[in-house]
Subunit: 255 residues, 4 copies
């Protein structure tokens, strides 16, 4: 993600804990880092060819977040209408429209979504088919075309961005649909704004386990360490990184 | 499960910890229980209608345990050839042949399998379409037709038998295929034979989350409390409870 | 503990979850058990001789629950004045006065207390120097003189009663003070009244680790399985089981 | 700690996993960091005045690591005799002698030790009474006189160095003995050298809880992110940072 986008996001709905906000002038500021300091290329997840396409439609207790017809469940980061493209049952990033998020907010959930990078995608590393699913609007599960162009391990598709690489890499090539099945357990905070229990996530990527109840250590910034910010329920956010990534068949179940 | 079958299983490959085996005559024996004492009918998981059928074939790094043609990956509980029926790409319990288990043994794994109870199934409660998947040959994830006939919550399909009911009940009716996607983390034992880390399991049942990193407390007997028995890798075991349950598309990935 | 006492306790302040309360007549009741069915004698914790007496007085951020002078921090189970005996800096169970609990309620905490069984104690097994510390008023950490008279392992001093035996048994003999240092993490519940995160407890018994972040599975009844009951903050409760157990130097820190 | 010391340590006995060791030239190296990038000054743990001195001598099942007389249980980092000073029942860092470690190696354990910084200690921040206890020779629990001179929160006494600050700060002033009671659970590794279960630690500092089953994320270097290195049992290591820190009453129990 671009840090700029994240700061807008934060201003939109995140609650900083008092502890973190407190800035007593006598203490040193943390020294700035560069983005490359938190990029790990090794060890690299093994490539796996996934099985046949999974067509897992919404069960009866799911909330359908995209039915192929309209963006009525979504808004942009200012709370206005979401202006992504909808055609042929598919919604696609529109660069100028920015990131979008669900109107509803969620705690723990099971989320299904399918994403697609067009065959003509270009760009290098993190500029190729880049998007992301933000769990509770905060924690990024990476979407990127690392099939065509390698990137750092903790920035690959299905990584917890800048934290935890996927166990293996079962990505499909551009022009084919990829599937995420996500089981997310929301964090529990202490009164002082630190985690009592960290958020955790399990991800099946094209039916293959890539995150196994992985603990999320905090925010997923482009630069620097994860940070702990106290928050309650939040939306599902889909990132516009400028690249024309498409989505379909999105549904969620509250846990 | 029937206790008798389990004892055979135990005799076959399980290692009791010395601590548990020790029987000092001066201490009282634990008082016997009845099977009904560990059966909980309430609270009842909500019924959910699952989405369309999932056809998730084996990824490239999976071991195919049943390819629709033969039982070469399986043996009976005595280590002899597995004599279940194989027809039309489906394998079916043969009562006289008993339970079967894989020749290979596994630690932590991702397991996919599909199971089916015929439309003509009869019997009441735990006598209707009853089978089970034993994780590492020890911990039963229940298979049963509780669509047609209600049973106790911690004995429903996708329960950790006699321990943990599924979160919801997305079972399909007899004559339709059901799908289990199982993520299992093997236990770690202390030297004294007790758990340092208990086994844990996540289960998607027809694509719907029903066990979310559930801790398994020990064995899953028909009568009495779970027991802790030290063990290493173990097979996948499929139970013959006498009912004609069928299976297809079984594959496993070591984690 | 005696079940009768517990039921009074429950009536006093516990909130049953709706799910557990629901009693739909068409489902079978769970079959009654006897107390001996949940008593495990083996394996037995090894006896350990503890080091010299720990005199760990209250740090500056602790709430002193007993200062050696009065019972102003305590009340009986009906909310009336606590009528235990106070002499020489020590408070002692008075059988007719019943169990007592703190006026304040707590979530997660660090608790220090010292307890004592007189040299003249008599009685067999669970009738000898029997008392208990109830964490949040619900989960019993056992107090008993098992130095003089053996009892079942999951009913020994520092057991989570009827659940988890201590790792070892560093109890001192009657006429000497025993020390508990308890670190308790309160559970987190889902809306349906089941645990999202179970309560956990670490206990040093005379300076020796006996419970190491042990998960508590539910209530600690004399008869039957642990039950899950939704609750919020609760008091520290000290049990009157009729035996003349004494206490001193009790303090608590909120975590 | 100084990074130099740590590299010697690593060379001495640590096993890097193959995955981490692999250095394929075509991938970018991680960009170097400075030590200040991983120093967090806020939020700051509250100061707490501890209770009276704890004199918790070894229980009968402990291994006494320092009995006040000699260093027979210790060696220097090259495996030679440990040449720290022993007088009046106390052992003290000798700068030229370097860090020392136990001859025995340990998995999970309960460790008691007492440490002392002389009244005349001088130096600023991390140069004042600096030492450290390395759990399994790898993970540093910080020792430092931050009573006299403030330092960054994740470098204070009882911090998991550069990772997790203590919950509160119950340190005693120079010239008084401080006490650590440490409960450490060793990690469990997957075959690929990553954690299946991370190491965890609970610490009472002068009888006050400061680490509550804290997960350790990897090594504790002076510069950069924690790293994951596969290892088995390891020694208790006491760091010589050049400052005259003293120790007494050291014992350990295997868990």
């Amino acid at each position: 993600m671009k840090q700029k986008v994240f700061l807008i996001l934060v201003a939109g709905f995140m609650l900083f804990s008092g502890a973190v906000q407190a800035q007593d002038k006598k203490y040193p500021e943390q020294e700035p880092m560069t983005h490359a300091m938190s990029e790990f290329w090794l060890p690299r997840p093994n490539a796996v060819t996934p099985g046949s396409i999974v067509t897992n439609t919404a069960p009866s207790d799911a909330i359908v977040l995209f039915n192929g017809k309209d963006l009525s469940a979504w808004q942009n980061m200012k709370g206005e209408a979401a202006r992504w493209d909808v055609h042929h049952g598919v919604m696609t990033v529109v660069r100028e429209a920015g990131s979008i998020r669900t109107k509803e907010e969620f705690g723990s959930f099971q989320l299904h979504l399918e994403w697609y990078v067009p065959r003509a995608a270009s760009g290098e590393k993190q500029s190729r088919g880049n998007s992301g699913v933000y769990l509770q609007g905060i924690y990024e599960l990476q979407i990127i075309d690392d099939y065509s162009e390698e990137t750092y391990a903790n920035g690959m598709a299905a990584s917890i961005y800048k934290q935890t690489a996927p166990l293996v890499s079962p990505i499909r090539k551009p022009g084919e649909w990829n599937v995420y099945d996500i089981i997310y357990t929301a964090p529990v905070f202490k009164e002082d704004g630190t985690y009592l229990y960290r958020p955790r996530v399990t991800v099946l990527f094209n039916g293959v386990l890539v995150q196994n109840n992985t603990e999320i250590r905090g925010t997923t910034p482009y630069v620097g360490f994860p940070r702990v910010v106290k928050h309650g329920d939040g939306p599902i956010m889909l990132q516009s990184h400028g690249d024309p990534v498409s989505f379909r068949n999105i549904w969620i179940r509250r846990l």
